[in-house]
Symmetry: C2
Subunit: 379 residues, 2 copies
């Protein structure tokens, strides 16, 4: 696995049961997955030499993030390496313009959008969709980075002036955000989990509710079918997360990710097969596992580093209290240093009553991050 963050860490955890041991290409020896995996290489995912040395002897090469240059992935493939997802699929998760062009071609509902090469392009697009609108860097964005909501031509010009290749999208009036997570094997088998609601704050996912409450059955099936179809059309191997806007006029695709994704962390406890096991099954060309839910409701809340520092022993004390107060809440720590806003872990609660499950997960997360349950929560 190229990249050794929390996704690699949790993938390694799932690999152990399958009798596998995941080799990691880590940026540093302190990366979350590097701390717990046996076979760790430290190297630069932007260096083809490092990638080649790393891929040698791997049954299959897969990814913890989208930042490996697509031409390097293609070079590995030309060397004969088994890479999943392939460079030709992954480009649609790496390049937002390529993604929008392809989805538009496929007739998949998207927000109105345009490539922006000049102020003229932007003016023309703004005349069509109005202000505010959204500018997105075509490459390298994540967790709200590389995305700007701009209210007028002046603000937009400042983003344009940076020279970053951009696309513009209409700012959709949304009811909420959803995600449809699927896995696809090279053989073409697909597996789909229930559609979830993802709650965002400042462009970062803070909470995932599975299944999405009060979601119309027909819309849910539409979202699942859409995700399976995109996986098929783009030739994805492994996990595909389709982030969706639910609007008054139906579903629109927001983003794609071709790897285990935050919107499906709930599957570790909430589904008979977790997204991490499923990703491994898919990229290793094993048949996929059942996605049956293990509870009526599962809620995952991200642990985002609070404004105040916490020492390791202070954190340990909080973990102690959390386990005492919320013995039913499952904790996942990523082995990361705390920094304000940084995803350092997540918690999961499950049960029959949504309000209870949501409250318990939310309170436990608030407590762990802030040392109290009032916290800054908007839940």
């Amino acid at each position: 696995m190229v990249g050794a963050g929390q996704l690699a860490r949790m993938t390694h955890q799932a690999a152990i049961a399958l009798g596998q041991s995941v080799r990691m290409l880590a940026d540093t020896a302190d990366d979350g997955a590097a701390l717990v995996a046996h076979d760790v290489a430290v190297g630069d995912y932007r260096s083809l030499d490092d990638l080649r040395a790393f891929a040698r002897g791997c049954d299959v090469v897969t990814f913890d993030h989208e930042h490996v240059p697509n031409e390097h992935i293609a070079a590995l493939e030309a060397d004969g390496a088994n890479v999943a997802p392939s460079s030709s699929a992954l480009r649609y998760a790496q390049d937002k313009q390529a993604m929008r062009e392809r989805l538009t071609e496929l007739g998949v509902p998207c927000p109105r959008w345009a490539p922006i090469a000049s102020t003229e392009d932007l003016d023309a697009f703004a005349a069509r969709v109005g202000w505010p609108l959204v500018l997105k860097a075509t490459r390298g964005g994540y967790d709200g980075k590389g995305v700007w909501v701009v209210g007028n031509a002046l603000d937009a010009a400042a983003v344009l002036a940076s020279g970053t290749p951009l696309i513009a999208e209409e700012k959709v009036a949304i009811v909420r955000e959803l995600a449809a997570d699927v896995a696809r094997s090279p053989f073409g088998q697909g597996a789909v989990w229930p559609v979830v609601e993802t709650v965002q704050r400042d462009g970062i996912c803070v909470e995932v509710i599975a299944p999405a409450p009060d979601l119309d059955d027909e819309l849910a099936q539409q979202a699942q079918a859409l995700a399976l179809r995109i996986a098929h059309e783009l030739g994805v191997t492994g996990m595909l997360a389709v982030e969706l806007f639910q609007s008054q006029h139906g579903l629109l695709v927001n983003e794609l990710a071709m790897r285990p994704h935050n919107s499906a962390h709930w599957t570790i406890e909430g589904s008979r097969t977790s997204q991490f096991e499923q990703h491994l099954r898919a990229v290793l060309d094993y048949p996929l596992g059942v996605t049956t839910p293990t509870a009526a409701w599962t809620v995952m809340v991200n642990l985002l580093g609070g404004p105040a520092d916490v020492t390791p022993s202070g954190l340990d004390e909080r973990v102690h209290h959390l386990m005492a107060h919320w013995p039913d809440v499952k904790i996942h720590l990523y082995g990361k240093q705390f920094r304000p806003g940084r995803k350092v872990g997540h918690v999961t609660a499950l049960g029959a009553d949504l309000a209870t499950v949501r409250r318990r997960a939310g309170e436990a997360a608030d407590y762990l991050m802030n040392g109290d349950v009032a916290g800054g929560s908007t839940r």
Copy 2:
């Protein structure tokens, strides 16, 4: 963790979520846990020097097996190491005579037994309980090793002649075997799972059914209370497995283990908190997690190497078919070479109907071991 077999392997898996990384003292670099853990020392668990070097810098030292000399554990404690379970608790899982003496003192129901130092001792015991009877090596036995069912004085004399320190036990007429698994924290908190039925073949556990079918509520509560009481009286920290005989006259304690135990592998999927997470919580002095079952029935079947060899690629092909035919069955491979009778993994199935769950787990395991579902199964 001293010892790097499958118990250590699955403990490491659970540790990842808790933000921990388990250091392993492995016999060889190929041990199951050594293949997947980051921090592996290869050394001899019978060498105090190796144990001391290993323990340095560990928050707590715990065990994958009972074979570390008790005096070495006491020496680590004298050095100031935090060891869980302690030498004074662990001796009752290491020495069957000490265990029987202590349980008898506590009034815990056991098979009739006697220490055997001579032919005279044996004759006297046989006169009391009759033939056949059971001889057990006081130390070092596991999975049917170190246990002899002997039908007469001649056969018994042959075992005695080996010079192994022994105890004798009556051969109890049993209805079935059960296990009560509990965890205890240093603080004295206890957690208990439903009592399970363990199905044995040739002295090796082949199948575990959770909860034990048709077990009288009162007997189940008795077994749980007994296990919690033993954990308390012996001062156990971590997991305690109490293997029980169910006889016409009630419950009798067969064996004790103070570590994660085969009888609780089902908890990985079948309980909100697995025995591996619970063992870590206990030895790290964290509050324990809830043991709520995730399904009405959970069945675990051990993967015991079949008589015929299987190549790695042959095994991989079987895994492929298993996943296709039994997408609901969860597989756990320990990274071990196949040898006839060796525990190389286990499978788990869960659901609402016991007969279905048992059949699916049993068939999947037979198929993986023997390449067909008829297999040699007695189920």
